[in-house]
């Protein structure tokens, strides 16, 4: 149950990051999003 909440929260943060990424105007910040998203997505998929 607790673990599930952590996965769900990770997914929630990943969605918020994507949402902010869509609204982001600065190229360098956009590129940084590409890296920041990785640990969240791979953790949700239970790959790492």
């Amino acid at each position: 149950m607790v673990t599930l909440i952590y996965y769900l929260f990770c997914a929630f943060v990943a969605i918020l990051l994507l949402w902010n990424f869509v609204e982001e105007e600065n190229l360098y910040n956009e590129i940084l999003y590409a890296f920041v998203l990785m640990p969240f997505i791979l953790r949700i998929l239970r790959i790492y």
Binding site: V2, T3, Y6, F21, V22, L27, E30, I31, Y33, A34, F35, L37, M38, I41, L42, R43, L45, R46, I47, Y48
Partner: protein, 378 residues
Amino acid sequence: MSNKWLRKTLIILLSVIMMVIAGREFLIWLNEKEPIVEGPGVTRVAKLSDYFADLKGTALDTNIYILEGEEDGGAVMVTAGVHTNELSGVMTNVILIENAHVEKGKVILIPFANNSAFTAGHPGEAYPMRYHIKTDWGSRWFRFGDRYTNPIHQWPDPEVYVHYPSGQSLSGFDIRNLNRTFPGKADGTITEKVGHAIMQVIEKENVDLFIDLHEAEPMYPVINTIVANQKAMDIAVIAEMNLSAFEGIKIGKEISPENLHGLTHREVGDHSRALSLLAETCDPIQDPLRGRTDEALIITGKDEFILKAAKLGLLYVPFDETGSHIDVRTGRHTSTVLEIISAFSELYPDKEIIVSDAPRYAEIIEKGVGYFLLKPRG
């Protein structure tokens, strides 16, 4: 599509490509296990889950190799891979599984005690995923992992880990460190369950002697030594003397600190009938002052920065240009295991254990670890 959206799409694509490339490697790490050959001395292969069913189907279930002699005697269990970046214990176990015969008594070998910790690295440590040992017929590969259970198998960590049953406070992440979770807990975390399962094996197989194999970084004070539970100190004393006298191996001995809980040398000895000991060798790849982190360092143990630290007097172990080769480390551990078994047999003759066809320090150094690794079928 406007420029902005094209740009965003490309950036997301970049992220996806990186995740796919890395993810593929992570999945291999997670799922592929090295082949182990059951040698002529192996009489049974069991699973940890045979002794504690909760582990069935989990990533932490692991093989137990049992070598039984024709004559009854005592039983010894040797574990390695409690910390999966400390590999010479794994090599010692594999050499025994693939070569040794037991004439009297029983030898129980668990080479990959924390099977989950073999499935990921430690972010920031940049460990290789695998290492290869050259043999006469080709090479054998083995997984290299982390000290801790993979977070995808146990998450989250508490802020402070309170050890069961002692109540001692430890760092939160140590709740995934198998050598801090003994004697385990049947309804605890998955790492605590592994500790509990190993204790069940000890009980059900009537284990008299327990040896846990580790490695330590050269800047760590507990190194090249045997740590013994107070009940097993006499065994450590005899083993140390014999290793020095007959094989020229300089090894320390120390008593398990009474108030340091969760470690095998303390808890196995305190919570079972088995006499428990732990042995350490010198492993440069764990040291934070190491240079380039790669497979060569795992195998040769040669490192200029550690050499410099030796010259500055910062190490707890002799270290020179020859490094700390895997052959030397495995040789030390194998001889230490055999010598501890001999010392136990000397002190408890009614529970004698006789192991044959197991190479010792000098032979392993002369022929190399690879010489003793069999060719897997297929």
